[in-house]
Every structure is written in structure tokens, then in C-alpha cells.
């Protein structure tokens, strides 16, 4: 590594008037527009902004990754003294990985599925050093160990699919660390992870920076994540810089309206409960904390009741119980929140509630009928009353059908309305969820994530349901859009008296919308109660750990939490 130039003089990164244009067909998009900033060694800067604001494009520009893709890059980018724009391919290759390393957004797909994790790290290491194969392997084990992969020597021989999401993200960070880069670029390193894992990764980054003194460029759309990990923040919008300054300044006393809006939209676990769309007439007793807030005012009838619901999946020879004896009730007009980390069985449970999946055991009663065992045909009359809004706005709409047709589908299947009335009804529904009815004939790819989620809601409403299971309806969306969608759901519930089951991994969001909350872990409900009970006085250690892992907007609080987390992790590990 002797030949590597280490320039101690001047800032590590200097970006001056950066512009990036993408040309597709005849159209040209300016993704980054005149951005300037600099970063000193050992410091961390956060790039914050909603989806599509150009954050990843900037990150890629630092490594010259736009080269050869047809994108036009203007302005200058200096990384450790190298002008990325004019450097030769060789110089660029020497820069990449060794001087500046990048951790990509999606740990699930950023590793080659066909090679062992350790080998991939070793490969990168050998590109930049003349280490022997063996030495490189040893180095890979070393960095894997450094990022906290247990039993690193053995696990380094595993392929990526044998790693959990958090482990993969660690492996990527390990790869970045392998050559001891001076600059680490982390592009949304935690978006794909559970809160608890997210907290671990952020802690790791924090520690590394402190120990090795490398510079960090953290790209994120989550203001909370930025608050925890960086010194400075740069807020981006439409490729332009909106506001920049230290974390404290920008998050504490934002100057720009946009920054303020961004901050306002972030749901918090600790702020006082303010429902996004004002008080909820159907749930007047919500704040008093009684066990049956709705029952007091409305008929005591239970709309949907699950008793000891269980669902197993066969995996080769073993069976996994994804949902393992869950009992819950949903009453008309109320919202039941379900939280839990990835793989805890939330989706499986949700799908069983609407009978997209057949329960292996247990009972599912809907208005006095046991619908858990009905055949598809017998289920027909109930189908439309139980609807679902799906997690992924991309896969929940057929990309080859216009959104109007998708929404019209339940109406057509019912076959009650004629063509003209169907179209009229769909337009009405689209309008209701805040979409322009004239976009009836448009295709899903012409809509943003939030808009697609609205289409999904409109489709669910078209069936005139009494209960909607919302499976992480906002996890795919950035904060601002999240706020809109949750507001819409609350409003609809108020108007139509719907019952909602709201599934999410984000504690803050669930707190925001629910009357009661159930916490799931490994297929079981570990804690169930009103919002205040669960968030105010969590009785289960797991719930406490979840709550502690939520990033705080205030850097000072964040540091406090970090300390608390370490203790809790031990508790849960024992439990």
C-alpha cells in the first residue's frame, strides 16, 4: 500500500458545481444541479432528501461511476486530490475501493450470490494490494470480525443468501473497510433493515469513524438516521441544495420551509400524539386508555376474531411456523397496529386474516362465521368485505394494466354495474383517494410510490369492505409521502367506519395511527395493549429494545440511546 498517495493537505472531498444529466430517449433529466460541498477527513456529512432528489447520483459521482453510462457529468469532483472527472480509468480504479469505498443501498443484491462472502472481500482486497490469496482471505476474516460477524472465519465461507439482511449489510461494510479507505460513502445503508439492526449498523459506522478517522458521506432519506450519525447535513431537493449546516442547526432550527416540512412529517415515538388529520370521531375514548375504547360507544360486536391462529410452511424437510398461536380481535371502526421485525410473521398473519392464506390451525371468525375453513367458493360472499393494501406498491399493481382497470376489477368481478357506471364509480374512488380521475387510463409506472399506494387503497375501497388489512402500506415510501398516506387512511376510516389492521415495522408509524398495538416476534404476539400501554410502559424486554432502537432526531438524545441500546441487547440475547 506504499504507493498509495495520502494527501493530508486540504479537504478529503471537494465538490464544485456538480451537475449530472441523464438522457433517456429524447428526454433529458437533470438529476443533480449545481451542487457544491466539501468534507474533511474524519468528519461526516449527511445527504438528506426525499426519494429521487439525486442523493445516490451524487454518491456515484464521487467514485466516477457515471462513466460509460451515458450520463453527463459537469463541475468538478476532487476526491483525495484526484480529479474524478479527468482521471484515467486506471487512476479511477485505484481510487475506487482503496481511497474511497462505497456501501450500497441494497445489501440483498449488492453481493454476488454465487461466491462466498469472504472470497468477494478477498478479491477486492487483492485488486488493490499484492497480497497473496491466503493473506487476502485472512484479511477478509479480519474485517468481517471487525464488523461484528460472529465466528467470522467460518461464516466467511458462506454465500450471501445464507446471511441475514443485517449480516449482509455488515459484510458490505467489511468489504469497504478491507483496504482501509480514507472515505466511506454509505448510500442508505440501513433502509432495508429492521430498526434494531439499523441501530447496530449506525453504531458500527460511528465507532469505525472514531477509530480510523475516515471521512463519511452518509446518504439517507431518513432524517433520524442522519441525526444520529453525522456532523453536517445537506438537504437536497430536485438535485439542488436546499439547506446545509451542522446537524444541530439544520434539524434544530431549520431555515427553509422545505426542511421544516420534511421534519414535520417524521413520525416520532416520543413526541405527543398528534393525529395527522385531527381528532378521530369514531374513537372518542382513545385517549382514556381503557381496554375496550370502542366498545363503550358502539355495539360490542367483534368484527374479526382470530383464536390460536397458526400457519406452517414446509422448507424442505422441516416445517417453520411463521405464525404460532396468535389470538386477536378487531372491532368495527378501530385500528389494530401490528409491529415486529422482519420475518416475525406479520405478513403471514395479515394474509390469513383476509384468507389469502389458509391457516394451518386455529379459528378465524368473521361476524359469527368461521371463515378459516371455508372453501374458495363458500368464501365468495365474504371476499369483498375483507380487503388488503399491500406493502410493495410496485408489485401490487399489474404494470401492464391501466390503474383505472385495476381499480375497476372488483366492480367488474361483482358484475353489478354496467360499463358506464363502473367507470363513473372508479373515477369517484380515484378522486376520493386524492388522484386525478382523468388519469384513469395511465399505467402504474407513471405514478410515484405514494400515488400507487393510493391506487391500491382505491382498489380495496372499490370492493366496499368492512375491514382492510394494510400490510406495511408506507414502508416503501419516504417520510413525506408516508404522512400523506397515513392521513388518507385515517380519514377514510373516519368517514366509512372501516376497521383497519395496520402492519408495520416502524414503531413510530404504528403509534401514530393505531388504537391498539400488538408486538410480534417469531410468530407470536409478545405484547398487546393500547398505544399508551405499549409505548408508555412496555412490559416485554423485546418491546423495550425496539423502542430504544428508534433513531432520535436530537443528536444529544441519540447519544443517550446508543448507550442504552448496548445494555438492552444483552437482555434480549438472554431472553
Amino acid at each position: 500500500m506504499s504507493e498509495r498517495l495520502v494527501r493530508e493537505d486540504g479537504p478529503l472531498v471537494v465538490v464544485e458545481g456538480l451537475t449530472v444529466d441523464f438522457t433517456t430517449g429524447e428526454e433529458s433529466v437533470r438529476a443533480v444541479d449545481g451542487l457544491s460541498f466539501s468534507l474533511d477527513a474524519g468528519r461526516a456529512i449527511g445527504l438528506v432528501g426525499e426519494s429521487g432528489s439525486g442523493k445516490s447520483t451524487v454518491a456515484a459521482a464521487l467514485l466516477g461511476l457515471h462513466r460509460g453510462t451515458g450520463a453527463e457529468v459537469g463541475g468538478t469532483v476532487l476526491v483525495n486530490g484526484t480529479d474524478v472527472g479527468t482521471a484515467s480509468d486506471r487512476e479511477l480504479r485505484a481510487l475506487r475501493g482503496a481511497v474511497a469505498a462505497m456501501v450500497f443501498q441494497d445489501p440483498l443484491s449488492s453481493l454476488d450470490p454465487y461466491y462466498a462472502v469472504g472470497d468477494q472481500i478477498a478479491e477486492v482486497y487483492r485488486v488493490h494490494t499484492d497480497a497473496s490469496r491466503k493473506a487476502a482471505r485472512a484479511r477478509a476474516v479480519e474485517v468481517l470480525d471487525r464488523v461484528g460477524i460472529p465466528d467470522a472465519a467460518r461464516r466467511s465461507r458462506s454465500r450471501p443468501h445464507e446471511f441475514s439482511g443485517g449480516m449482509r449489510q455488515r459484510a458490505l461494510i467489511a468489504m469497504a473497510l478491507a483496504c482501509e479507505p480514507r472515505l466511506l460513502i454509505a448510500d442508505e445503508p440501513t433502509t432495508a433493515l429492521d430498526v434494531t439492526v439499523q441501530a447496530q449498523i449506525l453504531d458500527l459506522l460511528h465507532d469505525l469513524r472514531r477509530e480510523t478517522g475516515m471521512g463519511l458521506l452518509l446518504v439517507t432519506h431518513d432524517v433520524g438516521v442522519a441525526a444520529e450519525s453525522v456532523d453536517e447535513v445537506l438537504v437536497m431537493r430536485h438535485g439542488r441544495q436546499v439547506e446545509t449546516g451542522t446537524v444541530g442547526e439544520v434539524l434544530g432550527t431549520p431555515r427553509e420551509a422545505y426542511t421544516r416540512a420534511l421534519l414535520a412529517a417524521v413520525p416520532r415515538v416520543d413526541s405527543p400524539l398528534t393525529r395527522p388529520s385531527g381528532p378521530h370521531p369514531a374513537r372518542p375514548a382513545i385517549e382514556d386508555g381503557t381496554a375496550h375504547p370502542v366498545g363503550a360507544h358502539r355495539d360490542d360486536a367483534v368484527l374479526l376474531e382470530a383464536v390460536d391462529l397458526r400457519r406452517e410452511f414446509k422448507r424442505g424437510r422441516t416445517t417453520v411456523a411463521a405464525v404460532d398461536g396468535v389470538s386477536l380481535t378487531v372491532r368495527p371502526g378501530e385500528t389494530l397496529g401490528i409491529v415486529g421485525e422482519s420475518g416475525s410473521g406479520k405478513t403471514t398473519l395479515g394474509r390469513m386474516l383476509v384468507r389469502l392464506l389458509d391457516p394451518t390451525a386455529g379459528q378465524l371468525r368473521y361476524r359469527d362465521t368461521d371463515i378459516g375453513t371455508l372453501s374458495e367458493k363458500e368464501l365468495r360472499p365474504y371476499r369483498r368485505e375483507l380487503q388488503m393494501v399491500f406493502q410493495d406498491p410496485v408489485s401490487s399493481l399489474n404494470p401492464r394494466r391501466s390503474i383505472g382497470e385495476s381499480v375497476a376489477d372488483p366492480l367488474r368481478a361483482a358484475g353489478v354495474l354496467d360499463q358506464a357506471r363502473t367507470v363513473a364509480r372508479v373515477r369517484e374512488l380515484l378522486e376520493r383517494v386524492g388522484l386525478d380521475p382523468d388519469r384513469y387510463d395511465r399505467y402504474p409506472h407513471e405514478f410515484s410510490g405514494g400515488q400507487r399506494q393510493r391506487v391500491g387503497i382505491a382498489r380495496a375501497l372499490a370492493a366496499e369492505p368492512r375491514l382492510i388489512v394494510c400490510d406495511e402500506p408506507v414502508s416503501a415510501l419516504d417520510v413525506t409521502t408516508q404522512a400523506q398516506v397515513t392521513a388518507l387512511l385515517a380519514e377514510l376510516q373516519r368517514e366509512l367506519g372501516l376497521a383497519l389492521v395496520f402492519i408495520a415495522h416502524d414503531l413510530a408509524v404504528v403509534r401514530h395511527v393505531s388504537d391498539r398495538v400488538a408486538v410480534m416476534r417469531a410468530g407470536r404476539i409478545v405484547e398487546q395493549g393500547t398505544v399508551d400501554e405499549v409505548y408508555g410502559a412496555p412490559s416485554d424486554p423485546y418491546t423495550r429494545q425496539l423502542l430504544a432502537a428508534v433513531p432520535a432526531l436530537d443528536p444529544a438524545v441519540a447519544a443517550e440511546r446508543r448507550a442504552a441500546r448496548t445494555g438492552l441487547r444483552k437482555d434480549v440475547a438472554v431472553a
Binding site: 430517449g25 429521487g52 445516490s56 388488503m388 372488483p410 410510490g449
Partner: protein, 346 residues
Amino acid sequence: MTAADLLTSEAATPVAASGGRQVWRRLRSRPSAVVAAVVLVLLVVLALAAPLLAALEGQDANAYHDSLIDSARGGVPTGSFGGVSADHWLGVEPGTGRDLFVRMLYGARVSLLVALGATVVQLAIGVAVGLAAGLGNRFLDTFLSRVTDVMVALPFLVMGIALTAVVPSEFPRSLLLILIIGLLNWGGTSRIVRAQTLSLKELDFVAAARLGGSGRLRVARRELLPSLAAPVITYASILLPSNIVTEASLSFLGVGVKPPTPSWGQMLSSAQTWFRADPMYVLLPSGVLFVTVLAFTVLGDAVRTALDPREASRLRVGRSRRSAGRTPRTARETPSARKTPEGTAS
């Protein structure tokens, strides 16, 4: 300006053409695709206009011209370049002196008809069986997969020979060829469609349709078929040319179209030995076949590219939008259902 307004303004996406039109536009923007399409249209037009063009040249497809060939030398055309002349634009056929230009035109009718017809049959059966297997219960899936195995294992030429012997000779030959190629060779299509269906049916929009009260048929027709278009079209662009060559091979084995009807395959098979004595006779059908195959391939590639939204954004650095969400699904995903061109039965 409220915060909410400020935030939503971004959501307004640029006005883009709708799906079909967009595909069309993308196609049009590729010169190679345009050329290929023009070539194919031209071929079809030429084939349809065969009687007209024949009249223009003043020849007929079946008239013998004994004077234009040298009987003592195996019937090789007397003129140069296979007897090209003002009367016979592309020369004449060795052994008979029939006009090659007109025979090529009429041959195009048969070849294109057989290839297209067979492809349609293959796709229709393949898609139906593949869909049924992918959507049906375990039993139906196993059953149909086994049937597909049998189809794939049946030696095609043998069946062709046997069937042409069994079917009465009054049965129109072109139709018979279409049926033989189509009915026996749909295994590949059905495997692709099954694999695609298996992965598609896991998608949420299918679940949503079920919740909306759609039955299986409705789901298949409305939700799955449109999504199967891209892989099926790609496969069709491989099938079409191979069907033309298959027709030629069947002709070579004596089970092609009825004489004196010409077809490219039949011409190729009788031209087999002539390439030194009369190169023109071989070059004509080979050349035309090559051009056709090339055109179909180029067009097929282009259509597939145009239909595939990922292809359009191929140059994007990171697929940030897609991966912005949490996608914890990979563990369940069975890649055997993905990327398999012919699909593997599992």
C-alpha cells in the same frame, strides 16, 4: 404554500405515453428494428402479391421450360447465373426449367404461412398448458408437467413421418405441417410460461385480484396473460425461424408440402447437391431464409427490449427507486422459476 403542497408537487410525473404506445415509440426509435420490420412486411407483401408479380414477369410457377436446361448435363440451366434472363429474373430451376422468381414468391406464401401458423399453434397450446400448470393445483401441475415431458421427449421427425403417413392425403399439406410442428413442439413454450406463471402468481397484484373476487380464469386472462407477452414474444422470435428450417428438414425427409406447390424448404432440400453446378439455385432460398431469420431475430430482440421496462432503464446507476423499499422477499424467491429460458421442471 403549505408543507403538504410543497411535498406533493414532486409527485407529478412527466406525462408519458401509455404502455402500448410507448413500446411502439421505443421500437420506432431503433433503426435496426425498423429495417427488420420493413423487410418482413415486404416479404409478406411480396408473398401476397405473388400472382401479380408473376403476371408482371410473365411466368407461371409450374410451367416447364425444357429448352432452358441442358438435359445431357443433368438438367443444369443453360444460361449463366442459373439461367438468369429478361424472361426469368432469378433464373430457372435445374431439371425442370421452372421459373425461380415466381417459385420463390409462391414458396414464401407456404413457408411463411407454415412457420407463422405453427408458431401460433405452439404458442397457443404452450401458453394454455403452461398457464394451467402454473395456476392449477399440485395434481394438475404434475400431470401437465409430465405431459410436457412426453412432448419434449417425442422425437419430432419420427412423429412427423408417421403422422404424414397416417393422415389421408386429401388433408391439406400446409395445414398438416402446421399441425405437426405446432402440436408436437410446444413443450418449450409451456415450460417458460409455467415458470413465469409460478413466479408471477406470487406477486401481490394477483392476490389483490383474488381479493377483488376474481376467479382463476379471470386472473389468468386479465392479470397474467399481459405479463407473459414479453417472454412469449421473445420465444416466438426464436421459434419462427426454426419452424421455417424445420419445414425444410421435413421436406428433405419427403414429408413436406405437396408438389408442384413450392416452398423454401422444399427448394432448399432439392437444391442440396446443386451448389457447385448451379450455385444460384442454392443461394436463393438460403439467402431469403437467412434474411428472414435475421429479420425475425432482430425484430424479436427489439420487441422484447421495448417491452421490458428494465431494459429501458438499463443505464441507471442504481435502481434506487425499487430498492428504496424494504424487499425482504429474496429468501422465499425460488430462482428456478426465474431466468430459465425453457424453464426447468421442478
